[in-house]
């Protein structure tokens, strides 16, 4: 979440899931909340019951639309245009929070100038949504006190994902919705512990708590604690790692709990890259498609077989507790990594329990410093930042100032950049990927009896008008072809897709959608653009 971190000083949800219920306006952009985050979806529905306005912006008429006051069927990749267009309406009509802008924001003048590039006609053309609807959305959002913005992969998974996130925060700053109960900008993180993984420094440029590796002070602190010297050069992102493996620069790879052959944008490239490695270790709970290519496969324990913590999308650290003994030879991931380190003669990996690891984390991470297993046992969850053992944790971020050097929230002058991959005569349709309620990156859900039965095969969703032009009927087998590859799949006709857009999910090994998707990267966040990709449909 590089974007939010730059302007606001943090990349997590600014508010809590429970607060959504009392928002008076919710803008849900790029999220199919009721499918991907059902419990957050309950809160949205509750808010609507209590009278909140709900605006949904999404290329696909997601389930949430059933509850929406306003649905904006935007073209894939046009989020920045939509959000800047809304900001322009708010500024033109004087609906912004002038006092808040003066006291808490910076860079308003430059931002205001940038809005000149987003006249209604242009925004209408780029988004495909009539200008009146966009103006209405802007007014609804500005009138909502407080108003909350929710977004997820739909908005970050673009080559301009970072811009999208900045555009979201612009809108919230402009209307004084940050640091307020039931307001805020709220990225809903995909997998259970993405937030925790990022907090723990499972990123190439930061240690725990977003302490940068290229900051000499931070490095000195970790060198002292770990008793070694550390590299100050930021490392490669996961997409770059596969490129580097493909080019022979990465020779050994240690892969834990991931199945890139299924989930990586441009999966065939990932497979090629893996085959070029000298040494490949996989640690997982199943012998996945990827693990079959490994030199060594280490059996890992599931969440039910180990102790530890997860940090959820609202920064809440909660205890994971062992329910059963690990199956067979399986061991917790921390145990395996420590054993490897010790076998290599390394110091500092003699942890006897996750509690000991957590103590080391807290001692090195200011935002976790006041959290301990003992406190978690009592409270059932603490939201960071929690700097001291007496601190109750923080439900809402930025209530008094922003965690930026100036303490102010920066309004960012953005430009519209079209998606890296545009449709053309040979590839006239835009493919977007999404996920179904019943599946979650298939490795787990596909093996949960029952879940597979509810949504057991991959489908390509096509608008009936497009289908008619192609001569395709519902249930027909078709080839979906992109500039990178092709997959065979059954067609489903639905008005949920706007014309010109088709959608698929990426849960099924026998139909790896990501063979098709675009390797274009966001220049800052390096998120692969699995959301926008040009394709054509060939009838078989």
């Amino acid at each position: 979440m590089a974007g939010l971190a730059t302007v606001l000083g943090s990349g997590a949800m600014t508010n809590t899931i429970a607060e959504i219920e009392d928002s008076s306006c919710i803008l849900a952009i790029g999220t199919s909340t009721t499918d991907a985050h059902p419990i957050a979806g309950y809160r949205i529905k509750k808010a609507v019951r209590k009278g909140a306005r709900l605006i949904v912006a999404n290329p696909k008429a997601v389930d949430l639309c059933r509850f929406a006051d306003l649905y904006l069927p935007i073209r894939p990749g046009s989020d920045v245009a939509l959000l800047m267009g809304m900001a322009r309406v708010i500024v033109e009509e004087g609906l912004m929070d002038q006092k808040y802008i003066e006291e808490r924001c910076e860079n308003f003048d430059e931002f205001k100038q940038a809005l000149d590039a987003f006249p209604p006609a242009f925004v209408e053309e780029v988004t495909g949504v009539p200008r009146e609807k966009i103006a209405l959305a802007a007014r609804l959002y500005a009138a909502g006190k407080p108003a909350s913005i929710l977004y997820c992969m739909g908005i970050t998974q673009h080559s301009h994902g970072t811009d999208n996130v900045l555009a979201v925060s612009n809108l919230a700053l402009l209307t004084g919705n940050l640091g307020k109960v039931s307001g805020g900008v709220n990225p809903l993180r995909g997998q259970n512990n993405v937030q925790g993984a990022c907090d723990m420094g499972l990123l190439p440029n930061v240690f725990t708590g977003y302490q940068r590796v290229d900051n000499p002070e931070a490095r000195a602190k970790f060198e002292k604690a770990w008793g070694c010297s550390l590299s100050g050069a930021p490392g490669l992102t996961h997409t770059e790692i596969f490129d580097a493996a493909y080019n022979g620069k990465i020779k050994a790879l240690y892969l834990v709990g991931e199945n890139p052959l299924l989930t990586e944008a441009n999966a065939s490239h990932a497979a090629e890259a893996i085959k070029k490695l000298d040494f490949f270790v996989v640690q997982d709970i199943f012998l996945t498609e990827t693990a079959r290519l490994a030199d060594v496969v280490l059996p890992a324990a599931t969440f039910a077989e180990k102790d530890g913590t997860f940090t959820n999308t609202e920064r809440r650290v909660q205890r994971v507790r062992r329910v059963i003994e690990p199956v067979g030879q399986a061991k917790p991931d921390w145990w395996i990594t420590c054993a490897v380190a010790r076998a290599m003669g390394a110091q500092g990996f003699d942890f006897n329990s996750p509690a000991e690891i957590f103590n080391e984390i807290a001692s090195l991470t200011p935002s976790y410093a006041g959290i301990s297993y003992a406190r978690l046992e009592q409270s059932g969850g603490i939201q960071w930042p929690c700097p001291t053992a007496e601190h109750p944790g923080t439900a809402i971020l930025h209530t008094e100032k922003f965690a930026t050097p100036s303490g102010k929230g920066k309004l960012v002058a953005l430009q519209y950049r079209p998606p890296a991959e545009q449709p053309d005569a040979a590839y006239p349709l835009v493919l977007t990927t999404d996920r179904s309620l019943f599946q979650y990156h298939g490795t787990m859900t596909r093996r949960a009896p029952g879940l597979d039965g509810l949504n057991g095969e991959e489908l390509v969703c096509i608008n009936p008008a497009d289908a008619k032009n192609l001569g395709v009927a519902g249930g027909d087998l078709v080839d979906v072809v992109s500039r990178r590859g092709r997959v065979k799949v059954k067609a489903k006709l639905t008005r949920r897709c706007r014309p010109g857009v088709v959608s698929m999910s990426f849960h099924f090994a026998e139909c790896p959608t990501n063979v098709l998707t675009s390797p274009a990267l966001d220049p800052v966040a390096k998120t692969p653009e699995t959301k926008v990709c040009a394709v054509r449909i060939e009838k078989l």
């Binding site: 985050h37 059902p38 419990i39 509850f67 998974q157 993180r189 995909g190 997998q191 259970n192 512990n193 993405v194 925790g196 993984a197 907090d199 499972l202 990123l203 240690f207 590796v213 070694c228 590299s231 490392g235 992102t237 996961h238 620069k249 020779k251 050994a252 790879l253 240690y254 892969l255 709990g257 890139p260 040494f279 490994a294 030199d295 060594v296 496969v297 059996p299 599931t302 039910a304 959820n312 650290v317 199956v327 067979g328 030879q329 991931d333 921390w334 420590c338 490897v340 076998a343 390394a346 690891i357 080391e360 969850g381 309620l437 979650y440 787990m444 859900t445 949960a448 029952g450 390096k526």
Partner: protein, 346 residues
Amino acid sequence: MSDLITLTIDGRPVQAAPGTSILRAALDSGIYIPHLCDHPDLEPVGICRLCLVEIEGRRPTVSCKTPVEEGLVVRTSSADLDLIRKVNLELLIVNHDYNCQSCVKNSKCQLQKVTSYVGVDEKSLRRVRKPELDHPLDTSNPFFTRDMNKCVLCGICVRTCDEIQGDGCIDFAFRGTRTKISVLGDKPILESACVSCGECVARCPVGALVPVKFEEPAYEVETVCPYCGCGCGIIVGARGGRVVSSRAVPGNQVNRGSLCVKGRFGLGYVNHPGRLTALLIRKDGELVEAAWDEALALVAEKLNSYKGDQFAAIASAKCTSEDSYVIQKFARAVMGTNNIDHCARL
């Protein structure tokens, strides 16, 4: 807390917050009032009429819909009340398909509790007994079975689906003695808009909505759902080294007693027969089983020769934070590189 209201129930002083119903105030103080249709997560409706109480100076009233007031004097049982309850209960259960021994709800069933409190008179039951209902079982959903022959028409499932899930897939259908809970058009539940969240199953007071292949856990442990970033609190049940059940942590600030289909019914992967239970090492092109010592020695020897930026680690956002911390420390401190990332920048 000075703003608590004090009242008297069955001669015992009881305190409760303003807005609490008399029923909940009594139950929270350990005074049982029979009830079927009330649920703490839902708006009260007062349709089972079992929770009638007498309040000094007023007519008998349903306690689930009457809020506490300072100084009220409440009686939960009297000859009159007991008689009305008996009649109400008999009407409810004349068609009930009793087979408690083989029922999933046995010993946790609210109807059993009500029946033993109110007492039923076999003779008068036989007098009103109508021909037995024979609703077919609805086994269309892979996670739960609907047996409407055990339904007491409390409407909890209907209100749950409407108030909590927000979907309203099911409703009362037909009239009089034929009344039942059904999907629009009396179709199997799988053909409705039902998202299989199981919220209704978790709240049904009797054995009408029960999980498929339910096994009573030997013990339960509170932990966190492994699926999405909401991080719902779950209570996982196990027996014989297997995970067998999952339910929501009642007071958790995130999910407030709710779960979705994945957190409630999706934990089967833990004990899937395809779990990787052995270590594998590639020998002559084939993956063959190995012991921990052998595998660790091999990995250590190999990785020792790839230190620096020719090494990379990619970990999972599904692992615990402790797992994540250890592997990034390993990449940085032992392998000497910042080539460490996770797969889901989402």
